[in-house]
Symmetry: C2
Subunit: 318 residues, 2 copies
Amino acid sequence: MARIAVGVDLGGTKIATGAVDDNGTLLARTELPTLAREGPGRVIQRMKESVYGVLQKLGLSLTDIAGIGIGVPGPMDARRGVVKNPPNLPGWDDVPLLSIMQEEFNIRICLENDANAAALGEYLFGAGKGIENFVYITISTGIGGGVIAGGRLLKGDGGNAAEIGHITINFEGPVCGCGNKGCFEAYASGTAMARFAKEGILSGRKTILGNFYQKEEVKAEHIFAAAKEGDEYAMELVEKEGFYLGVGLASVVNAYNPRCIAVGGGLTKAWDMFYPRMIEVMRKRALPVNVERLEVVKATLGPDVGIIGAASLIFQKE
Amino acid sequence: MARIAVGVDLGGTKIATGAVDDNGTLLARTELPTLAREGPGRVIQRMKESVYGVLQKLGLSLTDIAGIGIGVPGPMDARRGVVKNPPNLPGWDDVPLLSIMQEEFNIRICLENDANAAALGEYLFGAGKGIENFVYITISTGIGGGVIAGGRLLKGDGGNAAEIGHITINFEGPVCGCGNKGCFEAYASGTAMARFAKEGILSGRKTILGNFYQKEEVKAEHIFAAAKEGDEYAMELVEKEGFYLGVGLASVVNAYNPRCIAVGGGLTKAWDMFYPRMIEVMRKRALPVNVERLEVVKATLGPDVGIIGAASLIFQKE
């Protein structure tokens, strides 16, 4: 019989929880709002409820599952099983989530950074299946990542390795949310794209994006849409996005020498628009030996990567 | 009885070979000139001789040792045991060194990138002893590195992971020897320091370094010496060196989340002169959670780190 694990993906907006078997099949899922403003106590209560909810859907009890994996936003302290102070979870500060959940469920619990868990999920069940040296990158409002090295998740001392979005690509660059200057994320995230667009509009660049900006904030998806319609400034922004992604990937390639990089996150909806430029720049900038065998592909687990990744923590090789 | 391994450190200038026991003690060593211009055949012949020479010094035969570890300059292909085309080994191109040595000695042979081997040596026997998440960086004419993740060497797909010197710190920066722009190495190596100095001298900066430049090339050691004597321009260059090192270390810290970084290489002779600025910049730029427990120290194995690191390949956990 297949082993089953429960995965809990704790986000700033929602708690997504599911039961996953050791083939990576999502058997049941549930979603609750995080309501982060209510503070850690209530949020953790909803996390517990979501686990019981999923078990109930399948008619399972705790003794039927191999464990519960939890993906949390960083920063965290994996050694102590503690969630520190994630920007999108106000009021959290050194919350001992691992021991709280262990006390409730009294089975095996694993806690990891959400992007690291997603990387493990893509490695065990998705785009990285069987590829022992593998990097997963997610590009949406921010940039996150996780690394599989020799078939094992690269965790680092406190579970905060592979903070790929916070590798500097220009030390004189724009200030990043993390406080550093010129992080990969500050150049190539969806948020960064929108910021560049706004700067252009305000400086008087002729673009149909100005219409969006009247009504609402410009978003990355507007930029890709405008570029598709032939808007020159939008096309320039998309070209720049591909360039910055290529620069960042080159550092990733030289840092980890992966066989495959899988890219997930919201921006992959516009994959064909930035992929050629991204690859061109990456190949030009990375060490030739490190791109010879490299493949860069779209991640395959889709929107449930958070749940499947969290559950996969229970199936990982120690 | 202690197990003994032979380590061969193949460099562009010399072949340094030694016998090392499983406490990391160097029992005997020998050195031959590489004479790289004579091509791979002759160089490999000298590597073989050096192994026999070390065994002879100790009165040992091949059956007395656990294996031979070899550290080679990158790029390499670890999967095939092949040395590709290192800049400092002209004429080498896809040399199957692993199988050549296996044929000669018919015992266990390990082949790795020299900086990765050095990292393993420092982890098993030096500054990183017992620290399961550990980074070694060497700063001399270039910048190299190696990473221990969860107690194992981070190798990557082809043995070329942790090319720390070729992480981009400014995508608009000076051209690097690797072809990329703005690599860490292009800003913070001894060679880069000397290049900055020369640029200053040629642009008319008042500095005693101009005297060196009349007689010979300016070297990093001249800059540190001049800074010690109060030369303002040299002091500025040393400050910049600390800054660039701090920027690069911040990316390393966010990429690998190590518990400890050990710094080796020629520039550590001037450790006290760049250390405070380097640490200040690194702490300001890295994710706070990743520097809380971090220590940055000088590497301890000294000039024989190449031999000890190569031998340590035989003692690594698989």
